[in-house]
Amino acid sequence: MTWTNRLLCMAACLLALLSPALGDPVFSLLQLWQFSLPSAPPSLEALILQELRWPRTLVAVLGGAALGCAGCLLQRLTANQLASPGLIGINQGAALGLVLLIMSPLPLSPLLSFSAAFTGALLAMVLVFMLTRLSFGFLSPEGLLLCGALLGSLYGALTLALLLINQHALEQIRFWLAGSLSYVEPSQLGPMAILVISGLLFAFALQRRLQVLELGSDAAHGLGINPLHALIQIMLVILVLTAAAVAVIGPILFLGLIVPHLSRSLWGDQLWRQLSGSAVLGALLLLAADSFIRLTPQADQLPPSVPLAVLGVPCFIWLIMRRYARES
Amino acid sequence: MNTRFQEHSPLNALSAQNLTVSYKGTTVLDQLSLTLNAGEICVLLGANGCGKSTLLKTLAGVLTPKSGSVLLQNQALDQYSARQRARQLAFLPQNPAAPDSLTVRELILLGRYPFRHPLLPAGKQDKAIVEEVLAQLELGSMADKPLGTLSGGQRQRAWLGMTLAQQSEILMLDEPTSFLDLAHQYDLMQLIRQQNRQQGKTVIMVLHDLNQAFEFADRLIFLRDGQIIADGSPQQTASSPLIHTVFGLQTLVMQHPEQNHPVCLPLSR
């Protein structure tokens, strides 16, 4: 454990503990402690903290960790530093699945909405890999990103078109669609926590397989691991993490891209470190973005994807410029 | 250094004075001077990384020298506009690329670009020149075929056609035969010689094959570490010690039994 490591972990914990106090109104530490306890007398403050702030904080932590981890897994799996679920259209696919669910007569329970998001994400992932293969002949990094961007914009347009046709659904999820934490319901927290935590556990359990897979499928065969099985298992973990996060906080795009890079620059290339770092940093970043939004007057409804895009896009461009620098 | 040609040159087409070119901090050409005579085929030879491609590109004005200058018909090359230069000097790169759906005729017509009026479509004269080039290169039957359907040799011939349509005094070729099979290599070299003999074009090219260079060149320039270490006709320069210093390879140099030029046979080390 280096100093930066400890410092960042502490910062994440501190922010997670203090974040509920931030916003309008701002609570003092004492108030935070008093009103957060289940035994607190029923009051407006207790209601705000227990029904709004704490769920929102926890959702940000879980969602950020899930997206960061999924991004890290995907980058390692495809050996493509520019990949992230948001950039290859998986998040938008999950969103489309959810919108279809809302338009269907089925009820909008947490489990069903997760299943819809998961199905959408699964189909999107299969489609993007298939189409990249078909159009570029192999899984080229830029081909994957290009097809992903095209498919992502297609899903986005379809989602918008569906919502325009069905105004009722639009009102229901307009803010969710922009990727907002303002409308999180406490009932969503339990299922999401179960899914994200089990996804993270599986990710860590599978990390050795991923390491073997990175050596190439022939080497994996030689080491007694079926590369196809390992591939499918890791993909499933990525999908569960992405879908669980997207189903609650909406399609947030650039988190899965930046976090693994930050994690690597802080803790190095080793998979275990990068993965755990991505989880911590993802949680920290999303929480910071959300706290920032709550502290800014007027901007309460601003989706956290806006500050993340402002932060993420320059990072992304810098990464691309470094990777595809012109030879001469 | 052999300066025989410089003294007797009837008409110099292109000359370089004290060229120094560096690439990414390392000096590739060092204080190199050279005069190319009109109407000769000159071949640049040397091991990989000796600077022959760099020299060719500098002579063509693609790379700017750090110091020294290139003179095209006694005028500094960098004073020519891009269009003016393209009328005097045609260049075929090592890996030319065009869309597969472009036809041979369209490709060759692109060679007329430096001559065309900015507002008007291709004129009668341009079209006549394209037909002439097609006939010279025996490409008439495939003039309207897309490049993607041609064989490697035919495609390279079409590219040569594009540079010929420029009707320039000087033709520069960077390893024109490198991706062709043996028969097509000789086919192309014959065409280039024919252009030189019949149209009086000055040809400067980089070649890898020593025997091709001996057969087709009027003048050979051997480069090593960014400097000219030998310069002269094939008969003058073909010697096994020289080839050893340039390429680090033991060879047997002898006269071609049927044709009047030297050949070299590699000996295993």
Binding site: L82, L131, L134, S135, F136, G137, E142, L145, L146, C147, A149, L150, S153, L154, A157, L160, A161, L164, I165, A299, Q301, L302, V306, A309, V310, V313, F316, I317, I320, M321, R323, Y324, A325, R326 | V62, S81, A82, Q84, R85, A86, R87, A90, F91, L92, P93, P96, A97, A98, P99, S101, L102, E106, L110, G111, Y113, P114, P118, L119, M162, Q166
Partner: protein
């Protein structure tokens, strides 16, 4: 021969466009337009005041974007380039939204200039970046940039006053619903100069098909031509954006559709790109109106929905990027 396809398709599309919408008109009703009668007045009102200007706007915008896409693709040497995908349209949209929110009641003729400022700065940024990286990277940068600009536009909309936002929102979704004769005059006034300039630049862009070195040795790598082309691309996109909001995919698809039929030389593609762009835009607008009538889908949305699969299909069948 090939031109017959356009001759056949264009009247069909025009007819379809005039007929469909919230009120479907039969062919006879359309014919009535030419006979002065009592019956025809409401129909002619509908057609002359609503559908005709809208149709003309769609065609002009399609042609402008098709030409812009062709110029951008040939000058950048990147067959995937498109003003919408690279963020140029979004740049124009951002400055227009900024202007509409901060200075309401502005002369509408000035709005294209604001769009131009945004489009130009993004084009300049992209050009500067493209000098420093490989062609494929430019595309990825553009995609990222457009999502950033879209996020910023969203931010502006959140900060602005509620009343102005409603007008901005309708415009932003890439819709031709509000197109009237004023827009037609605005567009045609600008395009009267811009389209011939664009066609001329396409004629000068033929050697751009070749690899950079050959292009340069033909004397075709002229910086002023590059700058002028980019300026024109930015202007055309800005113009389209100010009238119809951020419309994507036409600049990408129209030249590729034209390439299916014609020689890849930009000089031969200029007219076909404009025609197929106009057709595409017309088709998308008609579909958007007809599919869920009386509800209207914005043309930008329909284009994204038909455009992305079409382009993927092109990628798969032609392997455009595989050199």
């Amino acid at each position: 021969m090939r031109w017959l396809i356009y001759l056949a398709l264009l009247p069909l599309a025009l007819l379809g466009c005039l007929q469909s919408g919230s009120v479907t008109l039969s062919a006879e009703q359309l014919l009535l337009l030419f006979q002065p009668s009592e019956m025809a007045t409401t129909t002619s009102q509908l057609i002359l005041q609503l559908r005709l200007p809208r149709m003309l706007c769609a065609m002009l915008i399609g042609a402008a974007l098709g030409l812009a896409g062709l110029l951008l693709q040939s000058r950048s040497g990147n067959p995937m380039a498109d003003p919408g995908m690279l963020g140029i349209n979004q740049g124009a949209a951002l400055t227009v939204v900024l202007l509409l929110i901060s200075l309401p009641g502005l002369d509408p003729v000035l709005i294209p200039l604001a769009g131009l400022a945004g489009a130009l700065s993004i084009t300049g940024l992209l050009w500067w970046l493209s000098q420093r990286c490989q062609p494929v990277a430019l595309l990825l940068i553009g995609i990222a940039l457009s999502s950033l600009l879209a996020a910023l536009t969203g931010l502006l909309l959140l900060v602005g006053e509620q009343q102005r936002i409603t007008t901005v929102l309708t415009w932003l979704s890439g819709s031709l619903a509000a197109a009237d004769w004023n827009d037609v005059w605005l567009l045609s006034g600008y395009l009267l100069f811009l389209l011939p300039a664009g066609i001329w630049l396409c004629f000068r862009a033929d050697p751009c098909l070749l690899d950079p070195l050959s292009r340069r040795m033909l004397g075709a790598e002229q910086t002023w031509l590059n700058s002028l082309s980019l300026l024109l691309v930015a202007t055309l996109s800005a113009l389209a954006v100010t009238v119809a909001g951020a419309i994507g995919f036409i600049g990408l698809l129209a030249p590729h559709l034209a390439r299916l039929l014609h020689s890849p030389l930009p000089s031969r593609l200029a007219l076909p790109s404009m025609l197929s762009g106009a057709l595409l835009c017309l088709l998308a607008d008609t579909l958007g109106r007809a599919l869920f009538a009386p509800l209207q889908l914005p043309v930008g949305l329909v284009l994204a929905i038909i455009g992305a699969p079409m382009f993927l299909l092109l990628l798969i069948t032609r392997k455009t990027l595989k050199r």
